[in-house]
Amino acid sequence: ADTVKIGVYEPASGDNGAGGKQETLGIQYANSETPTVEIDGKEYNVELDIVDNESSTDKGPSAASTLVSDGVSIVLGSYGSGVSIAASDIFKDGGVPALGITCTNPQVTQGNTHYFRICFLDPFQGTVLANFAKDKFEAKKAYVLTKLGDDYSAGLGHYFTKAFEDLGGEVVEETFPDGNSDFTSYITSAKNAGADVFFAPTSTEAAALIIEQAAAQGLDLPLLAGDTWDSNVILKAAEGKDVQVYVTTFYQEGGNEDFDNGMKEFINSDSKNLANNGGDDTIAAVSAMGYDAYYVALEALKAAGSTDPAKVNEALWDVTYEGVCGKVQFDSENGDAQRDTAYVKTANTETGAWDFVGEQGVE
């Protein structure tokens, strides 16, 4: 049979390597579940073309070029907004549509016709988190720590700040530079500032350090974060420590039994998958999103009736799909999925698993 190529533009190394790998796992699982697609009456084998964008806006474009040059019909990814924005023009020039999975920064899809996405956006997520901080903790003052030069981090921090201030709260903002692993000063500053919540939309790597050091310094504020923190890295870091961690996310394990079981089996079937998932079979929300994204791509291919990227791009606008993380339907302006709720979870430091807190929307 003929093959159709789907590009996977994800980080396997760098700051976002851990998250990128989990997202890729979801895609791979979906691919193993449904390895073929029927396009225009013909059966095609779906081949995943996976490249590593190294979490870097500098190396990303070359990786993107590789995909375009390889002749993929559609690209999935990336985890991390900065790399997605950086590759946007490469995909545009190559005429290849791209489907963002968990890149939540608005700029990814803004003003271009080839980048779509299936997740909610940071203005939404930031507001959700601000509301949550207000509702749950009656927070008046928030300490916001973002990473310098990270679009995801800066974006989410920005929208959170805006929303929180609109709600009448006060915000202390700080940034940490690349390569920083000493967070004790930031934690001290948060304490000294008298903040009620500590909001840190960062990569999981920084997150683990923050949790560890917050615990060591006896910080008794709730730690809040966005979707990136929904990872077993966080669970492990928090396990057995005296910390409270809350995250907003796309998916809650248990949301879809079939998917959960299949995914776990897939992870456990291969030691490499297990390692890529961080050593256990906790399902990350990004994996679920990756899974959905793969099926959205298949829908688009079917709708286009062709493997021609231009046609796929055209078809994407009208694709709808009911996935494990909810319904995907793109708005006609930017190609963003329309979503209005996020899940909130908290890390259970005893069991080392996520506890469901609730769904939170925006009033």
């Binding site: 940034t175 920083n180 000493d182 930031y186 060591a216």
Partner: protein, 294 residues
């Protein structure tokens, strides 16, 4: 008192991180002193030491892992010198430095390959990882141990270099290999010795550092390495007390800057301070003046 309580943690963090920088910086300074080589791979040796510990402690008890980790790190440092620097003894300085950059790349990429790029959780070392309270600030015990251990090690080293025969051989070799050989000094052993000491200190530093900042990633060595290197230059490269003082100054300033809320500039400030010092004193605080006799 309020002020004191609020700012003590910054100082504690500064002193502790300064001590760790100091241990790494000595490695730079010693190698530079003898080979005139900025050993870019030094920070990565530090990172590798961290990874070794992670993997060892997964299957062995801590008290066995620690000595094995130190020995393994020392062997790696030794081998790197033999394989990547020794063949270039006669080559221009730039080549050795590039070789060092190459080794640094290789170590990072190997670490990336082996760990799959995922952060590895450093094991908690009993006693030194415990949380203690100092004047009301909560911190890990390692914070206090670091500066003390650093100072002890430094005194030992200074004695070694100033007062012992091998120390004199090191200083002689640092200026002129050929003539040192004529004096019967075994250049290769002296250089190996330097790398062994440097790697040993890097291993100790990694133990202290990662007990505090527990995630080990392939690039973990880059920033502490760079800072330590700056510290070495700051104090006058080649001078061990200089490196140590430089490291403490940088560690403390960095945390004060963060405490002041100028976090964007915490790294930049380190460099700015360095440049100011260099402009005032082109060979660092305690640097030997180059005697360029015409």
């Amino acid at each position: 008192m309020e002020w004191f309580n609020q700012n003590l943690p910054y100082f504690l963090a500064g002193i502790s991180v300064g001590g760790q920088y100091a241990l790494i910086a000595i490695g730079y300074t010693m190698v530079y002193g003898i080979l005139r080589l900025i050993n870019f791979a030094h920070g990565d040796i530090f990172m590798v030491a961290g990874l070794i510990m992670v993997y060892l402690s997964a299957s062995l008890p801590i008290y066995i892992s620690i000595p094995i980790m130190i020995v393994a790190t020392v062997i790696i440092g030794f081998l790197i010198e033999r394989v990547a620097y020794k063949p270039l003894r006669q080559a221009p300085r730039m080549s050795i430095m590039i070789s060092a950059i190459g080794v640094s790349y290789l170590l990072q990429n190997l670490a990336l390959y082996i760990t799959g790029g995922l952060a590895q959780q450093y094991p908690a070392i009993p006693w030194i990882s415990d949380t203690i309270e100092i004047f009301g600030s909560v911190t890990k015990r390692v914070t206090v141990i670091t500066p003390i251990l650093t100072i002890v090690l430094v005194f030992a080293l200074v004695f070694l270099i100033k007062k012992t025969k091998i120390g004199m051989a090191m200083r002689a070799a640092s200026k002129d290999f050929e003539t040192s050989q004529l004096m019967g000094i075994k250049i290769n052993s002296v250089i190996s010795m330097t790398f062994i000491i440097g790697s040993f200190l890097a291993a100790v530093a990694s133990l202290l550092y990662f007990s505090n900042y527990t995630g080990v990633v392939p690039t973990s060595g880059a920033m502490p390495g760079l800072k330590a290197f700056v510290a070495a230059v700051f104090g006058g490269i080649g001078s061990i007390p200089g490196a140590v003082i430089g490291a403490f100054i940088i560690g403390i300033c960095e945390n004060i800057i963060k405490g002041m809320g100028m976090t964007t500039f915490s790294d930049a400030f380190t460099f700015a301070l360095l440049i100011v010092i260099l402009i005032a004193k082109p060979t660092g605080l305690f640097g030997e003046k180059v005697t360029d006799k015409v």
